[in-house]
Each structure stands twice: as C-alpha cells, then as structure tokens.
C-alpha cells in the first residue's frame, strides 16, 4: 500500500515538474509547480521529516507560489489574453540536461553509500528546536538577519517611486 502511495507521489512530482518546464502558458506552469511542491512535501513525509513537510507547504505553496503568481499577473498586460512565452533552444537544453541526468544516475548507482538506518522518531520538531538553539544558533541568527535584509530590499526595490 505505501509502495503504491510512494509511486503515485513521485509520479505526481515528476510529471508536474515536466509540465512546469515545457508549458507555454506561464500560469499553467505555476499551477503545475503547485503539484510539484505538494509532491515534494509528500516525499518529505516518506522520509520521516514531518516538520520540513509542513514548512514546505507553508513557505513554498503559501508564500513563494503566491509571489510567483503575483509576478506573472503584474508583468503581463491584462489585454493580452494568451500569456504565452515560447521556450527557445529546446534541443540543446534537452541534450544538456539528459547528459547531466545520465551522468548523475550512473554516479549515484555506482557510489558505495554508507547507509545506517535509524529508528522512526515520534516527531522531529523537538530535535530541530534543540539543534536550532544550540549547535546551529549562529546560522539561525544569520539566516534570520538575511531574511530581514531580503524583505527590506524587496520592499525598497519594488516601491517604484524610489
């Protein structure tokens, strides 16, 4: 049963990712990106990362995707009904990314991974909280400073009359 769910989630992720990169209608790409992000959140659940899955849905689906849709709407005139943006050089891009994919697949199937299975935790929030305030306190503070700077920068940049 969970095998089937895993197959379904990975197929959903990859097929909608294909739609994201090949669709000519930008708004359809954004909607396909929604399904990709949900699929990735499902993969996190399979990897026992419940907190990361929740954050993925909150930040990506609730924040970044809404920003992207706003960007699409603000940069296209309402009169142009077809928000179409043709891709270029699809042959070259396909060759490069296929080569990259074959290379990565060969590399990861040949590498001797040192796997040690852990036991399934009850929840990951407690460990993440402890780590964020002890071992990773400095990165935590640095990234909150960076987020503040990015927010102020984005607000200043997009104000228009500056």
């Amino acid at each position: 049963m969970s095998e089937l769910v895993f197959l379904f989630i990975s197929a959903l992720t990859l097929i909608s990712a294909v739609f994201v990169v090949v669709n000519n209608q930008l708004i359809y790409s954004a909607i396909a990106l929604l399904f990709t992000l949900f699929g990735v959140a499902g993969l996190y659940v399979f990897l026992w990362a419940d907190f990361i899955a929740g954050i993925q849905i909150l930040v990506y689906v609730g924040g970044i995707l809404v920003l992207v849709v706003f960007g699409i709407m603000l940069t296209n005139k309402i009169r142009t009904v077809r928000i179409s943006h043709k891709s270029m050089q699809q042959g070259v891009g396909a060759v490069i990314s296929l080569w990259l994919f074959v290379f990565l697949t060969i590399a990861l199937s040949k590498a001797p991974w040192a796997i040690s299975e852990g036991i399934e935790p009850v929840g990951t929030v407690r460990e993440i909280g402890i780590l964020l305030l002890t071992k990773y306190l400095l990165p935590f503070e640095a990234i909150s400073l960076l987020l503040l700077g990015a927010l102020i920068g984005a607000a200043v940049l997009s104000r228009g009359d500056a």
């Binding site: 990712a17 964020l132 920068g153």
Partner: protein, 101 residues
C-alpha cells in the same frame, strides 16, 4: 521505496528538469520556477541523506535553511523582475542584456 537510491533518482530527475527550464525558458519568472525546482531537488537530497544516515537531524536543519533562502531569493528576484518590467516593458531575459537604458 525504502532505499536511498530511489530518492536520489527522483531528486536528480527534478534537478535536470530544473536545469532544462533554466536553459530553455526566456521569461524571467519561468527561469525562477526552474531555480525553485533545483532547490527542491537539493532539499530532497538533504532530507534523504538525513534519514539514511541514522536519522541525523543536521540534514533537516540544512533543509530548513534552504527553504528560508529560497523564500528570500524569490522575494528579491520578483522585486527585480517587476522593476525591469516597469523600466523596459519586457521580462525576456535576452532583451535585458544591455546595462545602459
């Protein structure tokens, strides 16, 4: 489903699709979507290695930091794109190659 290679396979596929999008797309927002796919692929790798390394929580912290960085990047990138659109009336990345306008 319970081995590391299947997750690495999925994430490498996602990464290559993102690279394909970044290479072929001409619309700056579509390029940004490709970058989001790449970041998600990296994040799957972090969390997968965390699970298959004896549930090492460091990978989760890194995944969290990557998500925050993606949010900051998307906000700044869209602000820049909207500014370019207001100044040049296009967001085709081939048309905004010149610096002096």
């Amino acid at each position: 489903m319970n081995n590391l290679e299947s997750y690495l396979f999925i994430s490498s596929m996602l990464f290559c699709l993102g690279v394909f999008g970044v290479i072929t797309r001409r619309n700056a927002i579509a390029v940004l979507m490709g970058v989001e796919l790449i970041l998600n692929a990296a994040n799957i790798n972090f969390v997968a290695f965390a699970k298959f390394n004896g549930m090492n929580m460091d990978g989760h912290i890194f995944g969290l930091l990557v998500i925050v960085l993606a949010a900051a990047e998307a906000a700044v990138a869209l602000a820049i794109i909207i500014n370019i659109y207001n100044n040049m009336n296009t967001i085709n990345v081939d048309d905004v190659a010149e610096l002096n306008q």
